[in-house]
């Protein structure tokens, strides 16, 4: 690995060691809203803490000796640290000390998040300059997420405050995830159905370009929340005056305005990437297609669309990750989704409730991003011979 990568990795490993030595890994509160006491790694993990520090030092040693095969060992060691932390954490919070008061809450401390930071630095430095860097890191994080997921499912961490929040609202939790996901997904699909034809139209009829792009860019420029407000007013007026719309369940709050705003936001990346993808195709190739006797329709479906697909998929990727983030706002206006959990947490000043909304949100965005990135990678490699 290059020297700059080494420095980042070593710094990351030091962050790991320092968090085990100095930072609090858990916060114990007598009830949900009161502030609590911080508990460090040594107190929480006992002798396990020394093992964790030893593993972190091992990482530094491996980085300094700088051998090709060490990257794999560093990755495995990092995952081991993470697994160990989760395991020891689960054991620690089972202890009676934390379970005397029935409403006592134990939540994740700052050290826990610091080791995420440290680990990210170790990994990014470790694979810096590597051709398949992105791929390796994706694999690493996928394993990491799976590990956390397995620990959560096994019930090992059930005493954790965030899990208690989860059990308190487990039925709404999954419903909100589903709602969040489908709201994001369907808004992007609607964005595609509208946006791709618009992109094609602009590509073909240059005259309309400036007008349509102005409107789409405008949609992107207005802050999400303001756009929501702008949409809500005419929508509620419409539904008050029109009985049919009202019967359809369309009104100024809830699903409809959120959906419309998300579609407007999805349009921007989809339209721009469609135009860019079509423009990128060599003109000679299109002339050849025409010269071989392909009709315009055939040229579009068989040549232009498949060749611009990687770029259009790139637009979809931006649209879906952005949409997953923006869907939070639906929670503000009764549109449901993880936003409703997050805003509830904010209102109640309950950080664990906020986390309960944010973590699946990050996982969802990460997952969709990975899936589409993989599709693009595979398509380019298989059909166009372009390796990233």
């Amino acid at each position: 690995m290059p020297d700059s990568g080494k420095k980042i990795s070593i710094l990351g490993a030091f962050i790991l060691i320092l968090s085990f030595l100095l930072l609090s890994f858990a916060e114990y509160r007598p009830n949900r809203v009161l502030s609590g006491t911080n508990i460090g790694a040594r107190e929480l993990f006992g002798s396990g803490c020394f093992l964790l520090i030893f593993l972190s030092i091992l990482i530094i040693f491996l980085i300094i000796t700088n051998h090709k095969g060490h990257k794999l060992i560093i990755t495995v060691t990092s995952l081991l640290i993470m697994g160990l932390v989760l395991y020891l954490f689960g054991i620690a919070i089972e202890k009676e000390t934390f379970n005397i008061i029935p409403n006592g809450r134990i939540s994740l401390g700052i050290g826990f998040w610091a080791i995420f930071l440290g680990m990210e630095m170790v990994m990014s430095g470790c694979f810096k300059g590597d051709k398949k860097c992105i791929l390796y890191r994706r694999v690493f994080y996928t394993i990491l997420f799976l590990m956390v997921f397995v620990f959560l499912l096994s019930g090992h961490l059930n005493n954790l405050s965030i899990m208690k929040e989860f059990f308190n609202r487990s039925n709404t939790f999954f419903r909100q995830i589903r709602r969040h996901f489908s709201l994001s997904l369907f808004s992007v699909i609607a964005g595609l159905i509208i946006g791709i034809p618009i992109g094609v139209l602009i590509y073909k009829e240059r005259k309309m370009k400036s007008t349509i792009l102005f409107l789409i860019n405008l949609g992107q420029t207005i802050p999400t929340l303001s756009l929501l407000g702008i949409i809500m007013v005419p929508l509620s007026l419409l539904s008050q005056q029109n009985k049919f719309l009202k019967d359809m369940g369309i009104s100024g709050v809830g699903f409809t305005p959120a959906f419309i705003v998300l579609v407007i936001y999805a349009l921007f990346p989809v339209v721009h990437n469609t135009i860019a993808g079509l423009k990128m195709i060599d003109y000679e190739l299109l002339e050849t297609a025409a010269g071989l006797g392909m009709k315009n329709n055939t040229i579009f479906w068989k040549i232009q669309l498949p060749l611009s697909l990687p770029i259009i998929l790139g637009g979809i990727r931006i649209a879906i990750t952005q949409s997953i983030g923006n869907t939070i706002l639906a929670g503000l206006i009764g549109g449901g989704g993880l936003g409703s959990i997050i805003f509830l947490g904010l209102a109640q000043a309950a950080p664990d409730l906020i986390l309960l909304g944010v973590i699946p949100l990050i996982a969802m965005a990460f997952l969709m991003d990975s899936v589409i990135s993989f599709l693009i990678f595979y398509y380019k490699k298989r059909y166009l011979g372009l390796a990233e």
Partner: protein, 318 residues
């Protein structure tokens, strides 16, 4: 037969082609030779109607191309361009079968045709599943030729088809295309700026100067002195020497005259070698005669410098 009558093509203020007339008889390989930007490619694009002439008419088999159905016209014309023009997301098989598929051939006919074409252009049949990015420049160009020939069109339009291939492979492709054309006898319009390529392939050469036809004739016709200065300058003063590549040793090996050993210097040429290679061997060894051998390396005769002087260009040197 392809015929262009007084065709003019203007792009805004720029005249790409001015009063251009050309006749390409059936089964003839017509080379259109000229410097870059002289309007050669414009001629090709006019014929398959990718662009519309400003004035003038174009006929194919005595029928104005405006009377053809545009799509059918193009499907009946094989088209090869310089940058190969293979579709990167189609493998070799899918690239070749584009026109047969558009013409709704049966799967069996298409498969048989692809095998035939791959054999014809000298590519292994297991190339079918390869993608363009896996091919070398020469291989890609062969696929380009195979694709143009796919639906067996009577007409081929080739726009500097071997332009992006290295010299060694270009010569091989030229030789193979010459062989294919002898076999298939298509009506071909072949655009190039390479004089040697024109000499190797052409039945007829049309030399162009910007926007206009400068001179027309068979490759031998250009040996004579009566051409205008522009044409002579473009073809270069070694034109005659280059023309020797068109002849094979066996072409002037009239009778099997085996001279006495003392006369022969022991240097040999194959009878299917070009006269230019025979001549360069003579010059490099400082001799004026060579033994001629056949495929089995058996001596079948000899040629001398005198034979070349006497026999080549006999007809053009009046």
């Amino acid at each position: 037969m392809i015929e262009l009558k007084n065709v003019t093509k203007k792009y805004n203020d720029i005249t790409a082609l001015k009063n251009f007339s050309l006749q390409i008889p059936e089964g003839i390989l017509q080379v259109l030779l000229g410097p870059s930007g002289c309007g050669k490619s414009t001629v090709i694009k006019l014929i398959n109607h990718l662009i519309e002439p400003t004035s003038g008419e174009i006929y194919i088999n005595n029928k104005n191309i405006n009377e053809f159905n545009l799509i059918n016209l193009r499907r009946g014309i094989g088209y090869v361009i310089q940058s190969i023009g293979l579709f990167p997301h189609y493998n070799v098989y899918e690239n070749i079968v584009i026109v047969p598929r558009l013409l709704k051939w049966t799967k069996n006919d298409i498969d048989r045709r692809v095998d035939y074409l791959l054999d014809l252009v000298g590519l292994n049949r297991n190339y079918k599943k390869k993608y363009p990015f896996e091919l070398s420049g020469g291989e890609g160009q062969r696929v380009g030729v195979a694709r143009a020939l796919a639906a067996d069109p009577p007409i081929l339009l080739m726009d500097e088809p071997f332009g992006s291939v290295d010299p060694l492979n270009r010569e091989r492709l030229q030789k193979e295309f010459y062989r294919i054309q002898r076999e298939l006898k298509k009506t071909v319009l072949f655009v190039t700026h390479d004089v040697e390529e024109a000499i190797r392939l052409a039945d007829n050469i049309a030399v162009m100067k910007p926007g206009q036809l400068a001179s027309l004739g068979s490759p031998w016709d250009f040996v004579t002195d009566d051409k205008e200065d522009y044409v002579k300058e473009f073809l270069g003063s070694e034109y005659t020497l280059k023309l020797l590549t068109r002849f094979m040793v066996q072409d002037i090996l009239v009778q099997e005259k085996i001279k006495s050993k003392g006369y022969i210097h022991g240097f040999q040429v194959k009878k299917e070698n070009t006269l230019s290679s025979a001549l360069s061997l003579m010059i490099s060894k400082g001799i004026d005669s060579l033994e001629v051998i056949d495929e089995q390396e058996k001596i079948v005769g000899s040629i001398t410098f005198e034979d070349i002087l006497k026999n080549v260009f006999r007809d053009t040197r009046k």
